[in-house]
């Protein structure tokens, strides 16, 4: 993650003084951070501190929540993603998302992965076949399902379904993949597989992951951002962000240390 690598790759987020309100409630305020490309950035913090809210700012999924209002400036590769000429639908093909619970569509494995490319207008069978194979390979699911791509997605195990959802998100060839606690509903072995997948994925994409699991954050992320909401009356804030190694061994803020060592949250 040297400066020179950062210059010729895409998938860089810059957040400046971002705040989100739900109706009259200010959920997060004053968040500024840099999200480097081809790296895993972990968002950690106690429940309700706005991790999911911040994540949804990055692909404008907050737009789908009527009461949510995002302020501040967020750029992706230099372009303001909340600018008038930015189409949220187009943005989401560049910034994919994987959710907490595996949520495959009620259709075949193949159709799940092909959903994004088809939405973008890809119709050629050979092209779709290629995208489906590449995406499933990158999500480390290809070996297990290549024989029955016509199988219904619900016949897969929970862990396989989650990797299918990762493959589905990769199929639009995004620059960034957002993950909101992607392993929290999985058993330890599936969790391990998803973590391995993430480690390989950062070769191609920027990853922003929300996790409640400190060991997981320490294992898989390069950067860690710690968020905290001190009381319900105040909005949540970004306490600090830094290299994961440093954050976990020598945090700059007392509150980070308290959280990481398990004294609250």
């Amino acid at each position: 993650m040297t400066e020179s690598r950062e210059q010729n790759v895409t998938g860089v987020f810059e957040l400046e003084n971002v705040s989100v309100t739900y109706g009259s409630e200010v959920a997060i305020a004053g968040v500024s951070m840099h999200i480097p490309p081809r790296a895993v950035t972990a968002l950690i913090g106690p429940s309700g501190c706005g991790k999911s809210t911040l994540l949804r700012c990055l692909n404008r999924m907050n737009d789908e929540i009527g009461s949510a209002k995002v302020r501040g400036r967020i750029t992706l590769d230099g372009a303001d993603i909340y600018a008038k000429e930015m189409d949220p639908v187009e943005l989401r093909t560049r910034v994919g998302q994987v959710f907490q619970k595996p949520n495959p569509f009620p259709m075949t494995i193949y159709d799940n992965v092909a959903y994004g490319p088809r939405t973008q207008g890809t119709r050629r069978r050979s092209e779709l076949d290629e995208v489906v194979e590449r995406s499933l390979k990158r999500a480390a699911l290809w070996g297990e399902v290549k024989k029955d791509l016509k199988k219904h997605a619900f016949e897969l195990s929970g862990g396989q379904q989650q990797r299918l959802c990762i493959a589905r998100a990769l199929a639009t060839q995004p620059e960034v993949v957002l993950m909101d606690e992607p392993a929290s509903s999985l058993d330890p072995i599936s969790t391990q597989q998803v973590e391995d997948t993430i480690a390989e994925l950062k070769e191609y994409v920027t990853i922003v992951i929300v996790t409640h699991n400190m060991q997981q954050a320490a294992r898989i992320s390069d950067l860690t951002a710690f968020m905290l909401r001190e009381s319900m009356e105040e909005p949540a804030q970004l306490v600090e962000v830094g290299e994961t190694r440093v954050m976990f061994t020598n945090p700059g803020d007392k509150r980070t240390e308290a959280y990481i060592t398990g004294r609250f949250g």
Binding site: M61, G66, V89, L91, R92, F99, N103, P104, Y115, T172
Partner: protein
Amino acid sequence: MSRRIRQARLTQTLAVAITGAAAAFIVTAALFLLGYILVRGLPAMSWEFISQPPRGQMKAGGILPSIIGTLALTSGTAAFALPVGVAAGIYLSEYAPRGRMTRIIRLAISNMAGVPSIVYGLFGLALFVILFSFGTSILAGALTLACLTLPVIITATEEALRQIPSDLRQASLALGATRWRTIYRVVLPAAAPGIVTGSILGLARAAGETAPILFTAAVYYKRQLPTSIFDDVMVLPYHIYILATQVTGRPDDIIWGTALILVGGVTAGSVIAATWRSLQRKKVRW
């Protein structure tokens, strides 16, 4: 055993007995009803009964015009009510903003469901038969029945769509799909079983209604089969009413035979819907 536990057990036994008895009563009543219609109606069944028009002042012959009339009316009702009802259900579940206007629309729909069917008949007469000058016709009757069925279809659609986890919608939107694409590629297919079942129940009800078509579509006696949507028609439920009240000296079994055809048709529709739904269920579960 303490007194408290013994009492709790007694209450439990009583609860099982009472709810069980109610269930048994309903099943018995339904079986008795169907069995009675079957026993009384079967003697009338013959090829002539379902393939010929009535003759001998409706005391003999068949009921073909009524069967065709009911089929035509029900298909017409489906053609109007399904697209509009499903579209309105989609709007209410997926697009309608939470607000006063939407509450008013919902209130209007549930009120529509409560309007007596004879009132729909009068409304259809005033609007479709007279104002639009469709006359007493399949068209006017189908439109009237469609108004009556709409609330059922709208509600069934809305309920079925609400059952679909919001996770699926989110996943589709996050892949860069528009709302509409999300609805018709992901949400609607998943909700289809519920929508179809609800709609068939609504249409089955419509097929058996007499009051709404009394002034808008039904005719007392007509040997010819309809050739256009502007024709009036004989219809099964109205034919039963006519046979029972207006035709003296007719054999009882032709009334019950007509009822059997109506009930049989409606039941067949429900069974097909239920079967299709359970086949779909095997494919779709969360």
